[in-house]
């Protein structure tokens, strides 16, 4: 990493991480992010971790709905 420089590509990459993972970048920005990632093991590892982390949180907090609730919701339908 080149911290202390006015332009640090890893800093820029980190700033782009959230919108990149959320698919909220322009095509040009995506290309820019991917070019950096291709050449930077440091950022690549951390990006992969972010992806893994989101999957982890999503699975960790998942709780299926009970069949009883499902039946109650169906009972709320308008009778024909």
């Amino acid at each position: 990493m080149m911290s202390g420089f006015a332009f640090d590509p890893c800093d820029k990459c980190e700033q782009m991480m959230q919108p990149y993972l959320d698919r909220y970048l322009t095509d040009v920005e995506i290309k820019e992010a991917e070019e950096h990632l291709d050449g930077c093991e440091y950022c690549r590892k951390r990006y992969r971790f972010e992806v893994e982390f989101r999957t982890f949180v999503r699975n960790a907090v998942a709780e299926p709905m009970s069949p009883a609730l499902k039946a109650k919701l169906r009972a709320l339908r308008t009778p024909l």
Binding site: F53, A62, M65, R77
Partner: protein, 195 residues
Amino acid sequence: MSEASESSARQLATDARDRVRFEEEALDLSDQVYGVARRLVGSREEAEDLVQETYARAFRSWRSFEPGTNLRAWLFRILTNLNIDRGRKVQRTPDLQPLEESDYFLYNKLEESATDGTPDERRVVERLSQNDAVTALADLPHQFRDVVLLVDLADFTYSDAAQILDIPIGTVMSRLHRGRRMLKGSLAASATEDS
């Protein structure tokens, strides 16, 4: 049958068909609605009540849904509004401590504390506990949690989340960023305590 009553009978039949379709499509989304509701409130019972209220209101006001628009976003808007109406439990004031400097700090911390050399990303995640994730999410102040739930759990885009919560996209992005960092911060703290 007169022509007029025939046409109104036809209208009634069309209405009934549209309504059945609407209700079935809404019910198909109930697992996702429950998944988010469960993390909006503190208990399973409250979540079940909230989901039932959501569907009761959705079915009552089905005419206000514009066919062809996003039914999922429409349902989640009802869900989040009802949750606000129910009055949220007293929240602690948002943590005003400065955030960690980097988005990467959870990874860096886990990597540092690994005892078996440099781990790969998957194994680093495996060191986090499921219960800690549930607690960390529950502890987020609601304005951050709402956005994290809609984007990370329910996969809504920034613009859908903005519409559902009636806030600007920029606010969605900043709350999401801060919410995710707080989540990582508390998981980093519990992961290093445990190890």
